[in-house]
Each structure stands twice: as structure tokens, then as C-alpha cells.
Symmetry: C2
Subunit: 260 residues, 2 copies
């Protein structure tokens, strides 16, 4: 497929090389900041024309993938539709924003869909798409089939999910990724007080996740809360210096007790 | 070294093969339940005598390692000291319970110490000790050197830490392991509502931990709280059905906002 990338941020930075590796051709990269598009293009094996102007977006690609934030996406679609809507109505249009419904695309575009890569992305660290779950949705069955073929060329983990399902998935991701990272920061604070390096927590965290490949979280639950060790829990609460940390400790402890 | 293991539970199950692999000899395994000791012995490459009787514990080993829970440890030491304290006074005695101070050992025993393996252990899944941080303490400098040699034969990550330091480390472990597992269960619940398999969260969680090898938790923090996306946060809060889950969501969100 020939593909135009709209957006050159966190998702596009990992998606572009994955698409090329699977034999697709990236015809053009658009970003509101030309240097961002050029920066991404420079990492790719073949030269790709870049633009920061909606007027310059070519209309001959098979597929347009919008790798934009929830906030930037509606405006980009609106501008592009205004300027070249008719010429783009037969192409496939996909966006990667899990929280934005399919209806962000104009109903005059015949083949629209969502390719939501369920993981967090950063420009610094490339994600291997083979390890990324892809949630797909489309405006009709034919388009869904096409998206499935594209998605399955990138990752073995492809699931159909509508807006409502993606809402739960997005929440699950926030809990498992952002909140886990917050717990890592709380752990860092305690290790700092002990004068020990943060790194010693990482084998513990890897083990926590590794176990979940074999056991459900409830089966895998260990610790003072799971064994009702109030002595240890009280010691821990005494060590925590901030009221908020004690509240977090208490609530998560109560949560564990509720299912163990 | 010749080693007697007191206890044949979660820690001993991973420690015994690691010790043998490093050329040490396990002379005897004690457990209050003979079958537990025998079960561990059966997994080892050479036969090891087992006992459930304090009277039968031989006193010729170089080192006695107590792999017991916080609660079981004091009683085991007391019984052994009562029965054979004098014959054991020259041997090295180590325990693996991070929360129990060195003073659990009688002061008449000359070489006592702690070898606290900082990770969670289960009988089902062997831990590779090469990936386990070992925190050591001893009653004198010579014993500390001996323990360091033993510990460094098992793992490259060996740190000296006293009771106070181990307290912070134990709390950090509870936060990073037990509470992260609790978040995984909260994520599981949301994925279940979406009709999607729990497994799709695992690449996300692996990525969360992998990132922490390169970035501090604060640098790695992403998500709606970090970018003050109140719209998404409100959507998430509306999806959560239990008051406790909403409280956990709110507190962790406030915590992230406090440092981003």
C-alpha cells in the first residue's frame, strides 16, 4: 500500500518503520511542524517528502493514517476535508487515537477506520509493533477486512473493538501503565530514604509482570494484605510520611483484602 | 561451604538449587513438615537428608540458613538454641527474612547475619538468583565479609543494609510488587468488561517496566494526569463502577499531578 502519514509524533515514529518493513511505501509525511516530519523522515531507509501545509498533501495514496492526539485529530480532518475532501473520498482513512470515535471522519469518506495501537509510545524508544496489540474498527465490513490485513501484517495481536470497548481498554491502560509508573515513583522514594539505588526494584517489577503470564492477578497476589499481616501493614504505614501516600497504601490494601 | 537449610518454603526452593550450582553442599533440610523438606530435596541433583525434628539437626555444617517466615523464625531459633546452642555457636547463621532484625539470633552465636533476597518467591516458579538483589548484614566485619563472598557467588547485586534500610526496601517492594499486581487486577476487570483477553495488558506492563531502565519514574510518567487531560480523567471516573476504584483513581491521579 502507499501510505500518507498525518502526524510525526510518538506513534508515527514507531509506526513508520514498521510499515516500511512490511513492504508498504510511505509517500508523504505531514506535520504541523515541518522539522518534526523531517526528523522522522530522516530515520527512514528511503527519502520521504515532508510538508507542514494541508494544501500540499497529495491525494494519490491508498491510505491516510492520522497519528495525532485526541485534540489535534478533529481539526486536521476538518481542514483536509475542507481543502481536498472530494479527492480523498475513495482512499482509506485510519486514525490511531483510541479515545476518538470513528465519526470524526466525514461521512462522505467511504472507507474509514481506526487502528489503535494499545501501548504507550515515545519518540525516544521505538516500539516493536510485533508486540503491540492492535484494536481495529471500520465503517463497513470491507474496510474492516482491509484494516485487518494491514494490522495483521504488523502484529499477531489484532482484535476488533468499538468505541465503548476502547474506552474500557484505555482506562485499563491508564491503570496498568500510568498508575504502575506512579507506584514505581513511590517505591523510588522509599529506596532513596534507604540510600539504595532505584534499580534494585526493577527485578521485582519484572517478576511481578512475568508472573501474570502464568497466573491471574488474583492468583498471583502476595504480600502483607493478602496474608492479613496487620503487623507489617502498620509498620509500613508508620514509615510513610505523607498523608496521601498513607491513603493510597490503605485503599490498595483494602482492595487486595476484598479479593483475597 | 556445607549448608543446612532450615525451612523448605518459597525462598528455600529457589535458594537450594542456586547454592548447589555455585558448588556449595546442602547437608540437611529441616522443615516442620517432613514432606515439604522431602519435596524440595527431590528437586535437587544429589540426595539430601531431611528432618522435621529439631533434635535431628546435625551441628557440623559451616552455615545454617533460616528460610522462614517472620513469624516462624524466632521460634525456630529459640528451639535450636535451647537444644544445641552450644554446638552451633561457631557456625555461621543467616536468615532471609527482611523484616526481622539480627537480634533474633542469640548473642552467644558468634557469626550471625542476614541474607535478604529482595524479590517475591513462590514454590511454583523458580527465581534465578542472578537476578535477585541481595541485602546483607552481619554481627561483625569478618562475618559480613564471609556473607558478601557467599552472596556475590549467587548474584552480582549485593548491598549492605541494616534493619532500618530493609524496612524502607520492604515497603518499596510491597508498593512495586503487591500494589502493581492489584492494579493489574483492576485493569483485568476493565478488559473483561470490554470482552477482551487480559493478556493484551501484558505488553503495556512490560513496556512500563522496561522504560524504567532508561528513565526515572518521573521522567517516564505519561497519561491523562501528567498532561492535565481532565476530559479523559472524567471519562475514566465515569466508567469506574465502585467507589473504592474511583478513590484509588483520584488519589493516584493527584499524586501524579503533584510531581509532573
Amino acid at each position: 500500500m502507499t501510505i500518507t502519514l498525518i502526524g510525526a509524533g510518538n506513534v508515527a515514529t514507531s509506526l513508520a518503520p514498521a510499515l516500511i518493513q512490511k513492504g508498504h511505501t510511505i509517500k508523504q509525511i505531514f506535520s504541523r511542524h515541518l522539522s518534526t516530519a523531517q526528523h522522522l523522515a530522516a530515520t527512514l531507509p528511503l527519502p520521504v517528502p515532508c510538508t507542514d501545509s494541508y494544501e500540499d498533501i497529495q491525494t494519490e495514496s491508498d491510505c491516510y493514517i492520522y497519528c495525532l492526539t485526541d485534540n489535534a485529530l478533529p481539526e486536521a480532518v476538518r481542514r483536509l476535508n475542507e481543502l481536498k475532501g472530494e479527492h480523498l473520498s475513495h482512499a482509506m482513512h485510519l486514525h490511531t487515537a483510541g479515545s476518538v470515535p470513528l465519526s470524526v471522519f466525514p461521512f462522505t469518506w467511504e472507507r474509514t477506520g481506526i487502528l489503535y495501537p494499545f501501548n504507550s509510545f515515545s519518540r525516544q524508544v521505538l516500539q516493536d509493533f510485533a508486540n503491540v496489540t492492535l484494536l481495529i474498527e471500520a465503517n463497513n465490513a470491507d474496510t474492516l477486512s482491509e484494516i485487518r490485513v494491514l494490522a495483521q501484517s504488523l502484529s499477531p495481536m489484532v482484535y476488533e473493538a468499538d468505541s465503548e470497548q476502547r474506552g474500557y481498554v484505555h482506562l485499563a491502560g491508564n491503570i496498568a501503565n500510568c498508575f504502575t509508573n506512579c507506584l514505581a515513583d513511590m517505591a523510588r522514594e522509599q529506596l532513596e530514604r534507604a540510600g539504595l539505588p532505584f534499580e534494585i526494584i526493577l527485578p521485582v517489577m519484572h517478576h511481578t509482570v512475568d508472573k501474570l503470564h502464568r497466573l491471574t492477578p488474583r492468583e498471583a497476589q502476595t504480600g502483607p494484605a493478602a496474608r492479613r499481616d496487620t503487623n507489617t501493614m502498620n509498620k509500613h504505614l508508620q514509615l510513610l510520611t505523607s498523608e496521601k501516600d498513607r491513603q493510597i497504601y490503605t485503599l490498595l490494601t483494602e482492595k487486595i483484602i476484598s479479593y483475597t
